[in-house]
Each structure stands twice: as C-alpha cells, then as structure tokens.
C-alpha cells in the first residue's frame, strides 16, 4: 500500500541532508577521549593533549586548503600569536588570566584580518608566497623584539603550565574547548557561508558571475581560520605555560600542512585524522629511533603512494592554481 506521503517521497529523489551534526558520534568520541585521558599514563595524556590541540589547528588550516581555495604557507603565525596574545597581555600588561585567554584568539583573528586583507589581493601561488612573507616578517619581529616578546628565550612564568591542574583534568578542558571549536567549524562549513566559501574555492569565476566577491569571501574564511588557529595556540600556551618564537615558526606551519595532507584534502576530518597519525608517529618513532624524521618521511611517502586520494587532489589543485582560472 503506497500512501500519498510515500509517493511524494518517491517523486523527489533523496538529496543528502548533510547539515545535521552527528551528535551520537560526537558524544561517543568525547566519552572515549575522556576515558582515555582518565585512564592513561601521564606521557600518553600529554600526547593526547597535543593531538587534540593540533587537530584543531590543522582543521582550521583545512578550512583554507580544502574549501576556500586559498593556500596559507604561514599559518603557524595565527597559532603562535594565540600563545603570544596570552603571554604578552599577562606578562607585559599585567592583565588577569581570563583576559589573557580571551586575548589569544582575538590577537590571531586581528592579524588574520590584517595579513588576510593583504594576501587576498593576489591569487594562486603569488598569494601563497605573500602568506609566507607575512609569516617571516612576524617571526623576525617576535624573534628580535626582545623587550616585548622575550626574543629567542620567549616568555614564561606568566601562567602555570596546564593552569596548575593535573594533566588529565587539563586534558578534559582541552577536549571541551576543541570539541566546541570543531563543531563550530562544522557549522560554518555546512552553512550558507560554507557553501559560498566552497563555491569561491572551486570556481571563483562562476561564483563572481553569481554575485560573490572572491576577496570578501576568502577574507572571511581566512579570519575564521586564524581565529580557530588562535584558540589552538592559546591552548598550547596554557599547556606548556610558556611561548617561544618556534610557535610562529616555519616548522609549525609545515606540521599543519603535513597533517592536512596526511588526512586527505577535501574532507572535513583531514585535520583530525592527520593530527592523530602524525602525532602518534612523532611520539612513537622518536621514542625508538634516533633518525625519527627520516622514518616519518618514509612513512609519508608510503601513505602518499598507497592512498593517493588526498595528495593527488592537492597536486591537481596546485597545478590548477598555478595555471589559473579565468578570473579577473
């Protein structure tokens, strides 16, 4: 017996409704993570905290790489400025801790707006080079402005490491903050704004013919990404209770890029999977093998060869970007 309602359901083909968050999965992951944090030995808890922080940082970078069509080669700036925002407001300005914590991501977002507005003036590989230039500039200032940033010895002592909590309890705080941030990112990507970001990322010419300005849309994506990276950086600053120029340096940028690549481009989970795999390798291999970076390099090559989906996607995209699209 076919009811009228079924007929309508059959007449309209099922269109994926991807907007809903899978709460069951989300809550499940959070329960498992909480359990892991509470039962694991301290060294593992430290590794889990790092994984969570970098999962957020890489996911924020993934918003740019996979969706907005804008490549950032200096994203550690927005990560590290979160740590510096926290440290400088507390150590130099004597602000209370809560104000420092709020300042971290806001400082990142501010520099995201400033540098982003500059970098989106160009496209393709030229824009990527400009993001690199902004990062180098920031690193030089942070490294040399001794009175303000502590130079190469950084800033420490402004906040107790892990806020003075036990590692597993600090881990729970990180879990909640990272979960909220990633849920927010999911919301953004599956909203009208996210659809527009994807449109501009895939075909700026067509998006313009629909009335969307590439520059406006990419700038919004850039600021959101910088803000979320800043949250990750602030958490990292709280975790270690210090900040060093490395946090805005090129190695942290490469960490983020490698994580997204490992995770596979054009998927929401790229940053999360990438952070998990990369940090586990980092911790395990470094523990047993002196030349651990060599091993990670080999593993990276194998992953690329065995599972080319993510990586070949990036290569196509970079080639496409270098060749350029018919955009003004």
């Amino acid at each position: 017996m076919v009811t009228p309602k079924d007929e309508i359901a059959m007449a309209v083909p099922r269109v994926r409704d991807p907007y809903d968050i899978n709460w069951l999965l989300t809550v499940g992951i959070m329960i498992i993570m909480s359990a892991l944090l509470l039962i694991s030995p301290t060294l593992v808890v430290f590794a889990l905290i790092e994984i969570m922080i970098f999962a957020l940082y890489a996911s924020a970078l993934n918003l740019l790489l996979s969706y907005s069509g804008f490549v950032s080669f200096g994203h550690a700036v927005y990560f590290g400025l979160g740590s510096y925002g926290l440290a400088i407001t507390m150590a130099n300005f004597g602000w209370p801790m809560w104000a420092g914590i709020v300042s971290g991501p806001l400082v990142s977002a501010f520099f995201g707006l400033l540098y982003g507005a500059l970098c989106i003036q160009l496209t393709k590989i030229y824009a990527a080079m400009l993001t690199l230039a902004c990062a180098e500039l920031t690193f030089a200032v942070v490294f040399q402005w001794f009175e303000f940033t502590g130079g190469d010895s950084g800033i420490s002592g402004h906040v107790p490491a892990m806020l003075g909590f036990a590692p597993e309890h600090f881990g729970l705080i990180v879990l909640v903050v990272v979960a909220i941030s990633i849920i927010f990112l999911w919301r953004v990507i599956h909203s009208p704004l996210g659809l527009t970001i994807k449109a501009v990322g895939q075909n700026p010419g067509r998006a313009a013919a629909m009335g969307h300005s590439r520059k406006h849309v990419q700038l919004v994506a850039f600021v959101i990404s910088a803000f979320l990276s800043g949250i990750a950086g602030t958490l990292f600053g709280l975790f270690h209770g210090n900040v060093f120029p490395d946090y805005v340096g090129v190695l942290f940028t490469i960490d983020g890029l490698v994580m997204v690549l490992l995770g596979g481009l054009y998927s929401f989970g790229a940053g999360i999977y990438g952070a998990i795999v990369y940090k586990i390798l980092d911790n395990l291999v470094a523990h047993y093998f002196q030349y651990w970076q060599l091993v990670i390099g080999v593993i990276l090559i194998i992953v690329v060869l065995v599972s080319p989906s993510g990586v070949s996607g990036l290569i196509n995209k970079i080639i496409g970007r270098i060749r350029g699209s018919d955009e003004r």
Binding site: V12, P13, R14, V15, R16, D17, Y19, R187, V188, H190, S191, P192, L193, L195, T196, K198, A199, Q202, N203, G205, R206, A207, A208, A209, M210, G211, H212, S213, V217, V220, Y266, D326, R328
Partner: protein, 253 residues
C-alpha cells in the same frame, strides 16, 4: 526618456578593447531591445567572446559605454555586474565540479535569495523545493545527488544554464551555449533556452557557431568581424547579405 529608449535592454556605444597590439574590439555599437533574442556570429577572432567578457565585467573596456536596462556600467567587477541582473555562461561550462548537482543549484539560489554570511542552516533547507523545481526544469532532477565531475558534458552545460537562471537575470549572455554537444542535444538545449527566456521575458544575447541553431533561435543577428559590427539584421536579411557570405565563404573572385 522616449518610449524607444525605455525599451532598450542593452546599449553599447564605441566599445574598444585591446590586448597589447591586438585590437579585439574596435568600436562596437549595438542595441538590443528588451525581450529580444540576439545572436552574435562571426569568424574566429572577431571579438565575440571579448564582447561578452566586457559586458559581464570580466574585462574592463579601454573606451566606450555600456548601458544595461538604462544603468551605465562603469568598471564594475563581475560580481557587481551580476547583481545588476546580468547572467552569463562560459564557453567552457563553468560549474562547481566537486559539488553535487543539487549543491550547485543551491549555490545559485543562495547567492540571490540568501545572505551569504549567514550560518543558518534553515536558509539552505528552505530553498530545497525551489532547487528541485529548477532541476526539473532543466531535466537534471534525477542526477541531483551526482557530483558534477561525473555527469556528461551536455548535462553540465544545462546545469550551468539553470544556475544562471536561478540568479534571476534580466539580461542573459550565453557564450557558445551548444559548443561540444551532439546534434539532438544542441536543439534540446536551445529549445529549453528559448522557452525559459520567453516565459520570463528575458533578453538574450548569445554567441554561436552552429548556423542552424542561430537561424532557428535568433530574432536579430549581429555579424562581427575584426572587432567591428559588420552587419546587423533579421536572419532573412543576414542570409541575403552578400558581404556576410563573403566573410564566411571567402572573397569572390
């Protein structure tokens, strides 16, 4: 403003555009009435695609005036021209290749009826019926969940046309809408274009190489050569024009 001027959808005066030494548009004048179906034909390098790119804001003209529905275009960017009610398709169909057919159409509707900065999922959900209706219009509803990369060339061209319609243009610029399509597909597409344009009272300007399609669809034809308007008239007049025969068939001895 007299009645004649008020009825003009697109007016182009003295339009020039060069690329280095190459003069693509060398003083183009034309005027298209509201609701008219106008074909632009001419040999390769005549400046047809350049004309469309200038009209849509993708290129900035070196000199000349363009008025759309009485409003003057002044160096606007493509996204601003689009908001003035000018829709366009590209010679090589231009869609969002990694999205589904459904999401492509959703993008088009969202760009006109929604706020692009919104985080409200309901804004997208509310467009569902409109999106499905428009996919039915272009007979792509059965492919709604397919990724655009996986559908055929002809389907992609139809999708692009449908997406442009969804942005509710008054003036439609089509750059070789049937290029690379099979014979029956061509006529299906052009019938669809004509039906929808008449139904909505759109003004249509299209560049086309298939002469059968041109003579079937166009009410007026503009022949371009070497960046200039070479001849203009009804299909019957153009068919009779010996100068036009010359540039297409070569100079008579």
């Amino acid at each position: 403003m007299n009645a004649e001027v008020a009825n003009v959808a697109l007016s182009v005066r003295g339009l020039r555009k060069s690329f280095g030494d190459f003069v693509a548009l060398d003083g183009v004048d034309m005027s298209v009435n509201r609701g008219e179906v106008r074909a632009v034909i001419g040999p390769n390098g005549a400046g047809k695609t350049t004309l469309i790119n200038v009209l849509s804001g993708h290129y900035v003209a070196d000199a000349g005036d363009v008025h759309v529905e009485g409003k003057r275009l002044k160096r606007q960017y493509p996204h601003q021209v689009s908001r003035l009610g000018v829709g366009r398709t590209f010679q090589i169909s231009s869609t969002f290749r990694r999205m589904t057919v459904y999401d492509n159409m959703l993008c088009a509707h969202n760009s006109r009826r929604g706020n692009w900065l919104s985080l409200k999922v309901s804004q997208l959900r509310n467009l569902r019926d409109l999106v499905m209706r428009d996919l039915e219009t272009i007979s792509l509803d059965h492919l709604a969940t397919q990724v655009v990369d996986d559908i055929s060339h002809g389907d992609r061209k139809r999708l692009e046309f449908g997406m442009v319609l969804a942005t509710q243009p008054q003036l439609l610029l089509l750059d070789e809408p049937t290029a690379g399509m099979g014979l029956s597909e061509r006529h299906e597409l052009i019938d669809l274009v004509l039906d929808v344009s008449r139904e909505r009272g759109l003004t249509l300007l299209f560049v086309e190489h298939d002469i059968d399609v041109v003579f079937k669809a166009a009410e007026q034809i503009t022949v371009m050569a070497l960046g200039k308007v070479f001849a203009e008239g009804t299909p019957a007049e153009i068919a009779q024009n010996s100068d036009v025969q010359e540039i297409y068939l070569g100079k008579k001895a």
